[in-house]
Amino acid sequence: MEFSMKDFWNGSRRALARAITIVENEQDGYEEIMKEIYHHTGRAQVIGVTGAPGAGKSTLSDNLVKFYRKMGKTVGVCAIDPTSPFSGGAILGDRIRMNDLTLDQGVYIRSMGTRGSLGGLSRKTADAVKLMDAWGLDVIFIETVGVGQSEVDIVKNADTTLVVLVPGLGDDIQAIKAGILEIGDVFTINKCDRDGADRLNVEIEMMLDLGEAQDWRPPIERTIANEGQGIEDVVNGLNEHRKYLEESGLLEERRRERVRTEMAEMIHDRISRHVMKEITETGKFADYVEQVYERQTDPYTVVDSIVGDIFK
């Protein structure tokens, strides 16, 4: 099917789906699409959902989407699963938990592979979210891959980050380590009918107490996502945080920071592609590798001369 921006602006789901593919693959014309839609972004409420594999992110997202739908909002979901570092393939299975939503025309779900990105998202997640935003969805959920401790890219992409925890995954020292526990604007203890929920609650409270006092104290909600319990509390927590972001001016600050990092990354990307293209196409790179391997020279000297040559 030919893609047209006219269909996109007319609200065609087919056009939205195709636009995301074009941008994700950096096919011809993708930059034109992003340029055209950029002015229409920034309206949606963007919520990140992150947590360990199997914590219940998809099931919780499914329930949260239904709740926002009842409030009359249209919703987008960007669901990320890992790409195999060996084959480049991926199995994207988040939809299994969201089948009820498939036929709702007010919901758009898109699965994406990480494609080599290590921060819990894919490099094109931010662009997919912008496309959904410009297309007119009110609330957009980004569901990260199942994360460990340090995949925190979600904070750079979401206005509000929901960290999903489950009881029984570790001792209390886990809670004071750096990483995903630092990024929660709202916490939920999912599967809270399991042993250890109270203890986990205390541990998170203690972790929050140890930090510097902030204006915003992340609430800790409890859910049993597959039974739909506690969903309203989480939504209230998310909306409270949204209100706080708006009233405190932090929303603008976060979004300005996002523009800054995004542009820095784009510049970095463009330059590094340019440099790699230069030196690989001329065959210089292979020669340098050989020379360094043979210890005829050293990488520092070589890098100085490569970079010096290009940026005279």
Binding site: R14, E24, N25, S87, G89, A90, N99
Partner: protein
């Protein structure tokens, strides 16, 4: 341009509860470098078509063991056409009698892979036809 990855929706229409075959195929396609969206058991035709649309897939791979293939496979093909996705490659697999295969192919299912097919055949077919 980044790699254009082949995106495949592996879907199980109808009411049978056996997805071992679908999972084996999903895994094989993953190992062949494709992005496989798996939506789980007991999908309606509408759900499959909607998911294929949202995910903008190149291929829809249907797996069915209940005997309803003659009804459901062509319905998926028609549903995709109605969405303007007539160029999506639809293939099928499962317990499908040889006698039914020509009819399914005529209905727009481009290939049927029955039990015992090496997964490489499926991969090669997809790569040759996308």
């Amino acid at each position: 341009m980044a790699d254009k990855k082949i995106r495949v929706l592996v879907a199980k229409p109808g009411l049978d509860g056996h997805d071992r075959g679908a999972k084996v195929v999903a895994r094989a396609l993953r190992d062949a470098g494709m992005e496989v969206i798996y939506t789980g058991l007991r999908q309606t035709v509408d759900q499959i078509v909607e998911a294929a649309d949202s995910e903008d897939v190149d291929v829809v791979a249907l797996s069915l063991l209940s005997g309803a293939h003659n009804t459901l496979f062509p319905e998926v093909v028609e549903g995709l056409k109605a969405k303007g996705m007539g160029d999506v490659l639809v293939i099928g697999g499962g317990v499908i009698p040889a006698a039914d295969i020509p009819g399914l192919e005529e209905a727009g299912v481009k290939a049927i892979f029955t039990p015992g097919t090496p997964t490489k055949d499926i991969i090669d077919f997809i790569k040759a036809n996308v």
